[in-house]
C-alpha cells in the first residue's frame, strides 16, 4: 500500500523525533542542574577589584578583608573603610578608586554583586568549616588567581555531601594565603595531619535515630577536638561533616 519512499520517510521521522526527545530530556535534566547553570557565574562588579592583584601579588591574606569567616556563618565582604586603610595613600587619585572614596565620604555602601548564593533554606556556616581548617579553595577555587571572582563549584546538595562523606579527597587543607589559624601546627603540619588523620565514612560512634520510620537511620558522632584555650579560638580536629537533613536544613 505504502511506497518504499513513504516507508523510508516515516522511519526517518520517528528516528528524528526520538533523537529530539532524547536531546530535550538531556538538556532539561542536566542543562538546568546547578553544576551547569551556577558554575561559571561571574558578574561584573561596580569596581574592577582584583583578587589576583591584592591576594595574589600583594599577598594580602583573605582574612585581612574577609575578617568574620572564623567567627560567623557569613563571610563579610569588606567595608569601604578596609579599602581605605591602604587607598588613602595608594593610587588615591586613580579613577578606579573614585567610587570607593565617594562611598567613604558619603557613608553610602558600595553595592557589590553577590556571586555565591545558597538557597535561603540552607543552613551553612563558614566558621565551622574554617575552624576545622578547611581552606577557602575547597569551595571557592583559587580566588587569588582570579581577576574577577567566578563561581567554581556547583554548591549543590550533592557537592556538600560528597565532601562530608569523603573529606580526604575533597578538603584542601588550610593554606598560608588564607590566613586561617592552625594553632600550634604550621601549615605544612596541618596539611599532613588532615591528609593522614581525616576520618573516613563509618568511623565514629553510631547513634540510631529514635522514632524514625526509615529502618537503619542514624548519624555518626565524632569526638570534637578542643576548640578554645583561655578564651582563644583554637582550630578543631577535622571530623566528618553531617549527613542528617536537620544539620543543613532549618
Amino acid at each position: 500500500m505504502f511506497t518504499a519512499k513513504t516507508n523510508q520517510r516515516s522511519k526517518t521521522t520517528i528516528l528524528a523525533g526520538l533523537a529530539l526527545l532524547g536531546f530535550i530530556s538531556i538538556v532539561s535534566y542536566f542543562g538546568f542542574d546547578n553544576a551547569v547553570t551556577d558554575v561559571g557565574y561571574r558578574p561584573e562588579q561596580p569596581i574592577p577589584f582584583s583578587h589576583k592583584l591584592h591576594a595574589g601579588e600583594l599577598e594580602i591574606k583573605c582574612m585581612y578583608c574577609h575578617t568574620s569567616v572564623e567567627k560567623s556563618k557569613h563571610s563579610t565582604v569588606p567595608a569601604t573603610s578596609t579599602c581605605m586603610n591602604c587607598h588613602v595613600a595608594v593610587k588615591a587619585e586613580s579613577p578606579k578608586i573614585a567610587k570607593i572614596k565617594e562611598s567613604w565620604e558619603t557613608g553610602k555602601p558600595l553595592e557589590w554583586r553577590k556571586v555565591h548564593k545558597l538557597p535561603d533554606y540552607v543552613n551553612f556556616s563558614h566558621a565551622r568549616h574554617i575552624r576545622a581548617r578547611v581552606d577557602c579553595a575547597s569551595c571557592h577555587g583559587e580566588v587569588e588567581k582570579m581577576g574577577v571572582v567566578t563561581q567554581m563549584k556547583p554548591l549543590s546538595m550533592g557537592w556538600c555531601l560528597d565532601c562530608h562523606r569523603n573529606p580526604q579527597a575533597n578538603v584542601v587543607p588550610a593554606r598560608e594565603i588564607s590566613g586561617i589559624f592552625t594553632g600550634l601546627d604550621s601549615y605544612e603540619e596541618t596539611a599532613k595531619k588532615i591528609k593522614n588523620e581525616s576520618p573516613s565514612r563509618g568511623e565514629g560512634k553510631w547513634i540510631p535515630m529514635k522514632d524514625c520510620a526509615i529502618e537503619g537511620a542514624g548519624v555518626y558522632e565524632h569526638e570534637v577536638g578542643k576548640a578554645s584555650v583561655a578564651g582563644l579560638v583554637m582550630p578543631k580536629k577535622l571530623a566528618l561533616g553531617p549527613e542528617n537533613c536537620g544539620a543543613c536544613h532549618y
Binding site: 538531556i26 542536566f30 538546568f32 546547578n34 553544576a35 551547569v36 547553570t37 551556577d38 558554575v39 561559571g40 557565574y41 561571574r42 558578574p43 561584573e44 601579588e57 600583594l58 599577598e59 594580602i60 591574606k61 582574612m63 585581612y64 575578617t67 556563618k73 557569613h74 563579610t76 565582604v77 567595608a79 573603610s81 578596609t82 581605605m84 586603610n85 591602604c86 588613602v88 595613600a89 595608594v90 593610587k91 553610602k108 555602601p109 553595592e111 553577590k114 538557597p119 535561603d120 533554606y121 567566578t150 567554581m152 556547583p154 598560608e176 590566613g179 589559624f181 592552625t182 594553632g183 600550634l184 601546627d185 604550621s186 603540619e189 584555650v229 583561655a230 578564651g231 582563644l232 583554637m234
Partner: protein, 220 residues
C-alpha cells in the same frame, strides 16, 4: 544512490561525535564559559525568602541597609569601645594575658594576616604594599619601639596612628594583646622575653621558636 548514502553516514558520524564531545565537555565539570547573568531559577522553591540577610539591601530601613550601624553612644554587648588617650595608654592598658605557646601562635597568625602587608614579616617595614607606594612605617624592632610599653603598642593597634588606621574592628581585644606579645617575640629575635610557662612538649617549643627565627633570618 550509493554515494549519497555513504555521505549521509559520514556526516551523521561526525555530528554524533561532536554532539557527544559537547556534552561530555559540558558535564565533566570544567568551565567552558562564564556568564554575567545570574543562574536561571525555573522554580523558586523557597530560595529567596523575604528576610533580613547579612550585608543585603533592605527596603525596610530608610538608608537601605540591612546591617545596622550601632546606635550612637552604645557599645556592643560583648565588646568594648576603645577610648583611652595616648597619654593614658601606658598606665590604663594593662596586659593581663599570660604568655603561652597558644597565645604566641595566635599572635603570629594575626600579625601575619593584618600587619605584614606594611610592616613585613620581621616588623622592619617595607612590606609589599609599601613597595607600591604606601608610607613606610618605622621599624617595630628598633630600640625606641622595644622601649614602648605593651599598653602603648596596644593603643596604636586600637586607635591607629597618623596614616595607619585602627585595627579594633578587625582584631578583638584578646587578639590585639596576642599581637603585642608576638611583636615582643620579633624584637627579641624569636623568643618571648617572659616565656615563663614551659611549653608542654619539646615539639611545641621548637615550632614557636623556629617560626620566629626563620622569619627573622629570611629578612637578613
Amino acid at each position: 544512490m550509493a554515494t549519497n548514502k555513504r555521505k549521509f553516514g559520514f556526516w551523521s558520524v561526525v555530528g554524533l561525535v561532536l554532539f557527544t564531545l559537547f556534552w561530555v565537555g559540558l558535564l565533566s565539570g570544567n568551565i567552558l564559559w562564564t556568564s554575567d547573568t545570574p543562574p536561571l531559577e525555573i522554580i523558586d522553591d523557597m530560595d529567596n525568602q523575604q528576610k533580613v540577610k547579612a550585608q543585603a539591601p533592605s527596603s525596610f530601613f530608610a538608608d537601605g541597609k540591612a546591617t545596622r550601624d550601632p546606635v550612637e553612644y552604645t557599645v556592643p554587648r560583648n565588646g568594648t569601645k576603645y577610648n583611652v588617650s595616648l597619654d593614658d595608654a601606658d598606665t590604663k592598658n594593662i596586659n593581663s594575658i599570660p604568655v603561652t605557646a597558644e597565645v604566641l601562635a595566635r599572635g603570629k597568625n594575626r600579625f601575619e594576616t593584618m600587619c605584614t602587608p606594611c610592616h613585613n614579616h620581621d616588623g622592619k617595614g617595607n612590606g609589599l604594599v609599601v613597595q607600591k607606594g604606601f608610607a613606610n612605617p618605622p621599624s617595630l624592632v628598633r630600640p625606641d619601639a622595644v622601649a614602648y610599653t605593651d599598653g602603648r603598642i596596644f593603643h596604636v593597634i586600637s586607635a591607629g596612628q597618623n596614616i595607619m588606621s585602627s585595627y579594633a574592628d578587625k582584631l578583638s581585644e584578646l587578639d590585639r594583646w596576642c599581637v603585642v606579645h608576638y611583636i615582643r617575640v620579633l624584637q627579641n629575635g624569636g623568643t618571648h622575653p617572659k616565656m615563663t610557662a614551659a611549653p608542654k612538649t619539646e615539639k611545641d617549643n621548637q615550632t614557636t621558636a623556629q617560626a620566629g627565627t626563620a622569619k627573622a633570618a629570611s629578612a637578613q
